[in-house]
Assembly symmetry: D2
């Protein structure tokens, strides 16, 4: 039988890592999730513990303090984490995006300065692209960085920034040459503790993902050393685009894991809940809904596995990564919506896993490039 949750790509040391991470999350998440949600962020201690265990920066070489693995190991940790249906911990942004950016585009000096502390959890990373008036249309950002004798002078604001409330290291997409459009965008690292003129808004109140800190960031004449430019000036847009397929795969991992979790708690629920003289699963409508959800979960997993295998061997092409992002998050929302309904009134109570999955899921069709933007990308490739 094809096992819906089999992950054939997760072999060798990745399987061990999965077991270790799973044991850790099984202990930590149930014990803390509620508090994280109430305080609107995970504890700094949690990041440090993760650092100790090697759960941060898994794909960064050991000489920079990382796990010495590859995307395989990052995805593995994401699978282990996402199985709890928690969305508080911004590691995919921290390790999967920011650390990878620093490693791939950074100078030797930058790598040594930031990566070891990112790997230990002392520095938390964020990537700030979106602005109040520019999201999908990234090249329309207005945050400006001007090169001065004292370094880069940054003015502007960013919104919806994951890890925004706690980040020590923010990779900021800035317009360094407004006349050049996409080619005038550069990435500059702001070290928040040292940054005069940098402020954060209160955590944004969201429909779900309450434990994730999502913030507005303000830059008011913030001065940043010249050497904090990441990669080449004017190359920011290209760098961000280049990394997208992998980031979309991580969204896909979250989507499929959440889908499987929804299916599993719901199957369990309808087998035990009684109504009209027998368990709910005796009702044909319930059986059919569940059969449809089970099918989608399995097809989604198989599709993800294939994308993962391709990415790990030859790199996933852009249109397929776009398919992976939009379709898997769509399936996630559809399946979770059906599963919630099967819980009746309990499905609306956040004490129940399915309710949290529902509230958390809705953002997935929006960030990482909205699903509409993915369709544009696919269409262009036809």
């Amino acid at each position: 039988m094809i096992d819906a949750t089999a992950r054939p790509w997760m072999t060798g040391d990745a399987a061990d890592l999965f077991a270790m991470a799973t044991a850790f999350f099984d202990r930590e998440i149930p014990a803390n999730r509620e508090r994280w949600e109430a305080q609107r962020c995970v504890d700094r201690e949690f990041w440090l513990k993760c650092g100790e265990l090697g759960l941060l920066c898994a794909s960064i070489p050991v000489e920079y303090g990382g796990g010495g693995g590859s995307f395989l190991h990052q995805a593995t940790i994401q699978e282990a984490y996402a199985r709890h249906g928690d969305r508080s911990w911004g590691n995919s942004m921290h390790s999967g995006v920011v650390a990878d950016y620093v490693y791939e585009y950074g100078t030797e000096e930058q790598r040594q300065r930031w990566l070891p502390k990112m790997a230990s959890g002392e520095l938390i990373g964020a990537l700030a692209m979106t602005e109040p008036s520019a999201g999908s249309d990234l090249k329309a950002i207005r945050t400006k960085a001007v090169r001065t004798s004292r370094g880069w002078l940054i003015n502007g604001s960013k919104i919806f920034i994951t890890n925004g409330g706690s980040a020590d290291l923010v990779v900021v997409a800035c317009s360094t040459d407004p006349s050049k459009g996409a080619k005038g965008i550069s990435l500059i690292v702001v070290e928040t503790q040292a940054a005069v003129g940098f402020t954060r808004g209160r955590p944004l109140e969201k429909i779900g993902q309450h434990g994730a800190d999502t913030n507005e960031l303000f830059f008011d004449d913030v001065l940043v050393p010249e050497e904090n430019l990441l990669g080449e000036e004017g190359n920011g847009f290209a760098m961000m685009m280049h990394r997208l397929p992998q980031e979309r795969l991580i969204v896909g991992v979250t989507a499929v894991t959440a889908t499987e979790l929804a299916l599993s708690v719901t199957t369990d629920y309808v087998k035990h809940r009684e109504a009209f003289g027998g368990p709910l699963i005796d009702k044909q409508h319930i059986r059919f809904e569940l059969a449809e959800c089970a099918t989608l979960a399995k097809v989604a997993r198989i599709f993800l596995n294939e994308c993962m295998a391709t990415h790990l061997s030859t790199g996933l092409d852009l249109p397929t990564s776009a398919m992976c992002k939009w379709w898997l998050t769509d399936v996630q929302c559809q399946v979770i919506d059906k599963c919630l309904q099967l819980h009746g009134g309990y499905g609306y109570m956040t004490e129940y896993t399915i309710a949290r999955l529902y509230a958390d899921a809705r953002a997935q069709r929006i960030y990482g490039g909205t699903n509409e933007i993915q369709k544009e990308l696919i269409a262009r490739s036809l």
Copy 2:
């Protein structure tokens, strides 16, 4: 042109009532909604103000302190209220259900004892049918009321009770003769202040509708005077069924109003939000999504109007009321989901109306009889 928001049934004094209520809600809701949500219930003062203005018990004759109107007036108030997309105020339960029950099934003594204070807002009402292990299958309830020399002795618990945290008067569905199934269910009014052994759980945490108090209620040897029986013993199930078409219409009013609100804030949003060199509405996909939403909103309104007109003249039949409930709440959720997406990241932030509409909407397919139960009812009539 057919005006999507025209309500041809809202004529005469109902139109005046609508204007008055609208003015009141336009003032009160924006000023208080956030606090209500934070404290998980509306203020008692708000109920009293509503009472003063005649917004409570609109369909109860004036001799009992009511508005002297009919269902028309209740629906009118619900329209005026729902236009804000707020779901905190449990008036449809208080006036539309509990007061109507007391009036329709109560003795003269009961009417005089409870209705004037319900109309003034001094007493808040709730209806407690659902139990932890019996929702759709109402006749499986286990809360027992035993007739003793000192009155009814009630034991059991109820869950998901709207107004449960603040209710002074709870109509409790009890099994008074377990051997008789549906015919052994009776309605008994518990006056909470006097009820020793009655306790409430903390407000249940929900995906949305945060300002509505939804509670678990516990009855531990609660003694209630014999004269608190509402209607005839053993007739509870029939009484509840009889009132359902009207209650479903009210759910429909909320659904259509929320749909229209979603459409209107979203149309506005995409006309003003710029991306890729022009307003979002210039993108064909956005236009098509909006066109579909506008169509559904209009069809939904026309269907509701027809049901309302029928109900006000000859009474709405059971299968059509079931169609009204399931289809309108389905449309509500579909339209709101699309509209949220068109807001991008903002759609996920509860500061935005669309995000609250989204979180609030999901319960509508569950309460008032789940949409699955409605389909059963319709099918039986074919």
Copy 3:
């Protein structure tokens, strides 16, 4: 109870007309449908019989041989006819479009020349707008009409023309001034019997609607008397647009009637078909599918009724007519698809009504302005 098939707008003499027409169609259609489908058109005799009975040109004044009624009577005849699920007879094109054009835009001379024979069935009408390379984008048509001393000289071709194989009178949309775009389009009536250079292709083979003759028409130096220009030169586009809301309503009538027919034959079917120890309707999935279909059928009917009532009193606005067209045909296809499935293998056999309804329905989302074009129109009005 709201009766799903009630047509409150069909009052007075329309109700009598409905009864008479129904009796006629009940006799004629079952007796002939199969032959019509095999020969790919209805018999000329059928047109003549209809003429005798007053079923043609119902909205044309009696002085021109018409029924002296209004759109109400046309719609009534369409309801009576469509109840059989037959799509062979092109009367909505003949009476509802061509005769109305002649009456509304024609000169007195033209009215007298053509209308009486159209009313008797001696002349069959068609409207030829679409060309092989211009459908939705009507103003891109290339068929040219050049004014010469001997009249209009027409060259070009038309495709998908209903009644194209039998039409005696074809209203042809021609470009009379290519430099003016939409304002260079004129309508010219071609009397096919006299038209040298006019030829027809074989009936086009379609998925369904086999009894309807849909043809390609070729105009090779066809000379037409100057006085065959309908309305003003250059006004063709505007005239066609002006008539569209009403034409869309007729598509809506067909859609709703077909939906109701599907529901009724299917309800009947699943009550009588046995499987697994009882009638199909005992299976919950079947009940739910049917309940959804019944709901859509009722909502669709109510929406259509409202549009009809509005059109008959004040005229239906363009965006609502577009909603009527796209949504009702979408519902038609959805409901019929579900109903076909409930018939199992029989659903695929054209001997069964549901199979024919399925094959016939698919065109409805395409002609009369594709459903995509309707959404553009709605969006523009927001």
Copy 4:
């Protein structure tokens, strides 16, 4: 890039077979398809040609005249054939079902008697399970076979039998012991030429698949030699169930191939069709529709590939085969419906591939076990 049409399982000699078969079908199908459809069956000569080329009975050992391959080779031939979107040739029934039954369940004598002629195309096979009043509920069949001294005496009728008009060898599911339900069903081979009392109805008229002969078969005191019993008496139901996963995979192959064909002709169409000043693909709605279709086509192919690989190595489990059947045929119908719409009026004309794909597709959700029955099977496994 993941190639949507890649079939990683089709390796080695299967790839050669695919090339050979493709060349053959590329020649034969376009040249004959129209005639096959008109005459409601393929030519006997076509079967013989296929036999010569080794396209029949690919999985039957060479000693019985077969191709000596496995299911891999059958699936390969099906892929090559289905790429044309033709549905006339009933080989998947002939080779994939009947020949496999004979080989797997038959005696040595039966194998030698029938298989060589099936492989050459001299004998065409059919499987007759469904009856006018028993389809999904197979164990309710009424066709009776009574053991007599002269052999089996068969009475009853079968309906919707693929290859029914031309079959020489019909495997008939008979009730041999009505008292035993499913365990009283046996398979008996009727050699039609010798069968007195055996008659066929006219080919059933269907929505599509016009070239496939689907017939009703009548058995009126048909005498069949005792040795024509296939497998053990009373084991018929179990034998049929056992073969189902593989038959569902073949339906899946057809579904995915048709989906890919629809996508490819439509992409081509919208790139070349002009409207409103540019090709259709410039319109965003069209791009999005196509992007969704492309995604579904790719996900479907990947899912099928995985099922195929599993089946070829360890055998596909029953619930996954059910997912494969229902989901892939659902996707097929969805994608084709969207693609048809993008063709405008041409989409409704059977001259166009997309129109034929549409008409042909609808049966796929019905035969091979209806999609509802698949959902039951999946649900039971949860």
